[in-house]
Symmetry: C2
Subunit: 188 residues, 2 copies
């Protein structure tokens, strides 16, 4: 969310500004707890200037890994993952064969670029393929939390686990609306 | 086991004969229950002549699927599978790139054959990649059974699940030894 330019724009121009923008809203809703997997946070550190982010970051946005060794998942999802990968692997093979067949005729560099793009699309898009992806899912599950992410593969899998998710483009509205609600409750 | 020529030779020359050979031994150990996942049995039907196999097959070798929707697996194994696949996918990409780079110089047909072999090795070997593989693991787990298979990917994953497995080349010895034991018990 803080890295994707189209979505973070709601909170700030750069990842660092977006993080600050988010924190200033989040600080106004003490009833909410915000979590980010430690693995995601570690990745985020490559994009934000940690010296420019206020110390509030660590009180408002908690870093936590899911209990990877304690949680479990239904066997049927293991099946789904294996089946999905199997189809993608076959597709990757066809992509590679096509590239080899084209190599005699076209420009090698261009063909390799196309190969990389098509291969990545076949094997990576719409699937969970990293520790960070899994952490998002299992942490949301463990905490029974509302998931906010721009990753469609994670969203697709979150649904299999019965995890609620929020359209990332509505996250700012969601926070502002919650601020308003918590203030009107306070007045009452 | 009944399909792999090197291993089935202990029981018979053809898959059908191997199945008969196995059944004649298995029938002498009434204390044992033998199970095969329904998905594996369906595959086996492509290799054996069902009309030549005695009706004992269905009383001695039970077909059963694991409860795919009832069983669960530790989250950490989900992570391991995703991590393993990620590395393999990257390797598959390098295999494909190498093939494209060689395509300008070599024989296209030969290069595609090498590509297929190397790609399959990178993405398929030593991993669980089918419903049949998963069924073997979850059925063995569900029944707390001793697993007999020649598939190294399945064995590797069975160990993660704490499933006991038997070297397939020792399966005949194992059965014969069990027959001897059960007879000597009967005499006592």
């Amino acid at each position: 969310m803080f890295v994707n330019p189209e979505v973070r724009v709601d909170f700030g121009k750069t990842p660092t500004e977006a993080m600050e923008g988010f924190l200033s809203l989040a600080a106004q809703i003490p009833a909410f707890e915000f979590y980010m997997p430690s693995s995601t946070f570690r990745e985020l550190l490559n994009f934000i200037d940690i010296n420019k982010v206020s110390g509030e970051l660590f009180t408002i946005l908690r870093q936590k890994s899911p209990g990877r060794h304690e949680m479990s998942c239904p066997a049927v999802l293991f099946y789904e993952l294996v089946e999905d990968m199997r189809e993608r692997i076959n597709k990757g093979m066809r992509v590679a064969e096509k590239a080899v067949r084209g190599a005699a005729k076209g420009d090698e560099r261009e063909i390799i670029q196309t190969l990389r793009r098509n291969y990545r699309e076949a094997l990576r898009e719409g699937i969970v393929d990293s520790i960070e992806d899994m952490d998002l899912i299992f942490l949301a599950k463990e905490l029974d939390a509302l998931l906010v992410t721009v990753d469609n593969g994670v969203i697709k899998w979150a649904e299999k686990f019965g995890i609620r998710w929020l359209m990332p483009t509505k996250f700012k509205d969601y926070l502002q609306s919650s601020i308003k609600n918590s203030k009107s409750h306070a007045i009452k």
